[in-house]
Structures are given as structure tokens and as C-alpha cells.
């Protein structure tokens, strides 16, 4: 009875874990946009390679331990009351040296590529031709400043196959910049400039998130990185450098909205080039060119914009943006204006 119980234990534990492993292998990275297992940059690729290497060593060690464990518990031991004489061995120098040296060798095998990757992934100076972007983390959104003066929030675009050098700064407390498919995280520490260097290799949209607990809405501090072809990037960059899109002639709703905006408290925090000068919140000059709002939490649709402006706390508890209580028509006008800022 007792013996069977232990048998059941190991089979149960192993079966569960194997089953989960298989189930998970079944789901591809496609359904997991933030997976670390589908590298899309050189940095992520290096880490992935290292990860696989270490995992293989880990698996070998695990196999040895489980094998020894099973032999010890089920094969080379007796149960109380059985006749087999109990062993009294309490030491074996050879064995002990073996299981000290074995792991040591494995660690040497792991540490060499580890250190190589550490130095390779943290170059002291930016690689030649790198695009240097300043990233400022705020509670709870991201600001991206490009060297040519372009400015955006939460949805940066970068060119493919060109080295990117991010210099990370914080406006308030510690955050952490993480786009899993593009590489490991780097903390954003107030008073300190941290760097992150990588080169994206596949165009696409890669979601990221703040990874260091930063207060109430830490969970709502998301963003998206768009990796563009060089042409697309140049186009996007040009558009960002231009002023706000002109309101189409005859679009009364939008031009009303522009007036609502100009007279609202929004202007104290938000910038729309040529119209307002606030800098506490995200720059809204090209608001409509972004696919999401509220730091990646909501899709950028008119309903969501209205919902966000009317009650930011519902979407993002603790957000610094006050609720703007506008009567329906005014809100519609404002939303129409904002959604026109391509």
C-alpha cells in the first residue's frame, strides 16, 4: 500500500508536468504576442540561444537527479520489515568528489557563454549608425524622443535592421522597459541613464509592458513597438515631424472640438503643436496615428476616447489625468477633433 503510494507520486508528478509541457508546446508563439521564445532582434536571439543551452544542461541534471531518486527510493532500498539488510554507508569520497566536480564543469560550460553574452549585449558606445532614442518613463505611460525632434508616446516606431540605442530615463519612480520579443528588460531609474542596445530583425508590432512594480496602475503601463521597413519608418518619421493635421474644411464637429480643446484644462498638460504647450502628459499632436490610448490599455476608437476622457480612473486607477465632465455634444466634438489628428 505504502509502496504503491510512492509509485503513484512520481508518476503523477511526472505525468502532470509532461502533459503540461506537451500542451504548451502545442500552442505556438502566435497566440502569445509577448512571448520571449520568438526572438525578433539580435539581442533576443542571443538570450534565446543561451536560454536553450542552459535549459539543456538543466534537463540533463534533472534527469540524473530524478533517475538517481527513483533508483534510490524504488530499486536500491527496502521497506521497514523486509528482510534485506540496510546499508550503513555514510560516506564515499569518490562519489562526493564526483558530484562536486560534475556540476562545477557544467557551470563552467554555462558561465562562459553567459559572460560572453553579457559583454556582447552591453556595448559601452553605441554601434555605428545606431538610431538613438530617448525614452522617458512616467507614471504610467512612455515618452519617446527621437534625435530629429519627433516625439511620440507609447507607440514608438523603429526601423528594421538598424541598431537601436535607447537611453532610458525616468520622470518619477523606477520602471522597467520590456519588449519580450525584442530582448530583455532594462530598468528605468530616476537620476540614472540606462542604455539598451538591440537591432530588430523582423518587421511587425511587438507589445511591451513596464516590468517593475511602479504603483497603483503598474499593470496598465503598456506600450507597443512597431518595427517598420526603412521606407515606412522614414514616412512615419516625416509625418511625426509635421505639425498637427489640418481640420478638413467644413468639418464643423472637429473645428468645434478644437475650440473645446483650446478652452479645456487639457492644454495645461498636453501638447498639440501650435495650439497648447503642456508637457506633463503625452503629446497629442499625432494622437490619431496611434492604435491605442491610455498606454496601450484601450484601442483607439471614438467610444474609448470618450470613455477615457470622461473617467480615466476607471481604465487606469491612480492616473494623474482628471476626469473631464463634458456634455455629450462637446465630448463628441472633442473626440472628433482628436481622432482627426493623424
Amino acid at each position: 500500500m505504502i509502496g504503491r503510494g510512492s509509485n503513484r507520486y512520481s508518476t503523477a508528478a511526472i505525468a502532470i508536468q509532461v502533459a503540461i509541457a506537451l500542451a504548451i508546446a502545442g500552442c505556438s508563439a502566435a497566440g502569445h504576442p509577448m512571448t520571449t521564445l520568438a526572438p525578433k532582434s539580435n539581442l533576443a536571439q542571443w538570450i534565446q540561444t543561451l536560454f536553450i543551452e542552459v535549459t539543456v544542461w538543466d534537463a540533463i541534471i534533472l534527469a540524473i537527479v530524478v533517475f538517481a531518486f527513483i533508483l534510490a527510493v524504488f530499486v536500491f532500498s527496502s521497506r521497514v520489515g523486509e528482510a534485506a539488510p540496510a546499508s550503513t554507508a555514510s560516506s564515499d569520497l569518490g562519489l562526493e568528489i564526483a558530484w562536486t566536480l560534475g556540476p562545477t564543469l557544467v557551470l563552467v560550460m554555462i558561465s562562459v557563454p553567459t559572460i560572453r553574452t553579457i559583454f556582447r549585449s552591453q556595448p559601452v558606445v553605441a554601434p555605428a549608425g545606431a538610431l538613438e532614442i530617448k525614452v522617458v518613463a512616467h507614471q504610467w505611460w512612455w515618452e519617446f524622443d527621437y534625435p530629429d525632434g519627433a516625439k511620440t508616446s507609447n507607440e514608438p516606431h523603429i526601423p528594421v535592421d538598424r541598431p537601436i540605442r535607447l537611453s532610458l530615463e525616468s520622470a518619477d519612480i523606477i520602471h522597467s522597459f520590456w519588449v519580450p520579443q525584442l530582448g530583455g528588460k532594462r530598468d528605468v531609474v530616476p537620476g540614472q541613464i540606462n542604455e539598451l542596445t538591440f537591432m530588430a530583425t523582423v518587421p511587425g508590432m511587438y507589445p511591451g509592458q513596464c516590468a517593475e512594480f511602479c504603483g497603483l496602475s503598474h499593470a496598465n503601463m503598456r506600450f507597443r513597438v512597431f518595427v517598420d521597413s526603412p521606407d515606412d519608418f522614414a514616412k512615419w518619421d516625416r509625418a511625426q515631424l509635421a505639425g498637427p493635421a489640418a481640420i478638413p474644411a467644413g468639418d464643423l464637429l472637429a473645428s468645434n472640438g478644437a475650440k473645446v480643446f483650446a478652452n479645456s484644462p487639457c492644454t495645461t498638460c498636453h501638447m498639440i503643436q501650435g495650439i497648447s504647450k503642456g508637457y506633463i502628459g503625452p503629446d497629442l499632436t499625432h494622437f490619431a496615428s496611434r492604435t491605442t490610448l491610455a498606454a496601450g490599455v484601450l484601442k483607439n476608437t471614438p467610444e474609448n476616447v470618450a470613455k477615457w476622457i470622461g473617467n480615466p480612473q476607471e481604465t487606469k486607477p491612480g492616473a494623474n489625468m482628471p476626469a473631464l465632465l463634458l456634455p455629450g455634444p462637446k465630448m463628441n466634438a472633442l473626440v472628433a477633433y482628436l481622432e482627426g489628428l493623424k
Binding site: E169, P190, G191, Q192, I193, N194
Partner: protein, 109 residues
């Protein structure tokens, strides 16, 4: 209470007043040297190592003689030295880590 005294008499052979006075003289001299070193400008390039050596000497004198570690059981030395080593390593590594960090500080303001 008597057993305390017994245990005590049995365990320590503390040095006499003469030793204490000599140590005190050394301490005073070392302190005077420290202050002198501080005021001699020519010595400033080697100020840090010099001061560290002098302070370490004073430290060792007090601990070994006034705190009787030289005379007491090694157990007490162990209980003290191990944390002391850790504390020293901690001090050194923190200073070095922050020295690196200070190259990456954002301009203040």
C-alpha cells in the same frame, strides 16, 4: 554568583596596567600621526592608503588588547572576525558599485 567568578578566573589572563598604558601611548601616537598626515600636503597622494593603515593599526590594537581578543578563546575572535570581514567586503563592493554607477548618473536638476 560564585561560579561566575570561578569561570572567569579560569579563563582569562588579562594583561596588567603597564600593557594598557603602552597601548594607550601607541594609540595616541598613531592618532597624532593621522592628524599630521592630514595636514602635510606632500603626503596627499598617498593619504588614503596611509590613513587606512593607521586606522587599521589602531583598530587592531584596541580589539586585541583592550577587548582582550588576543587573550580570550578563538571562538570569540571567530564570532567577531567573520562579520567584520563581511562588513569590509560589503563596504568595498558598495563603494565600487556606486563608483561605476556615478558614471551613468543623469545630470541633476
Amino acid at each position: 554568583m560564585s561560579d561566575i567568578a570561578d569561570a572567569h578566573d579560569g579563563q582569562t589572563h588579562h594583561p596588567g596596567a603597564a600593557t594598557y598604558l603602552i597601548i594607550a601611548a601607541f594609540l595616541v601616537i598613531l592618532t597624532a600621526m593621522e592628524v599630521t598626515v592630514f595636514y602635510v600636503h606632500a603626503l596627499h597622494p598617498v593619504l588614503v592608503p596611509l590613513l587606512i593603515v593607521l586606522a587599521a593599526a589602531k583598530f587592531a590594537l584596541v580589539v586585541m588588547f583592550y577587548m582582550h581578543l588576543k587573550y580570550d578563546q578563538w571562538l570569540l575572535t571567530g564570532v567577531f572576525i567573520f562579520p567584520l570581514i563581511i562588513a569590509t567586503l560589503l563596504l568595498v563592493s558598495l563603494i565600487l558599485l556606486f563608483a561605476y554607477l556615478s558614471n551613468h548618473m543623469a545630470p541633476i536638476g
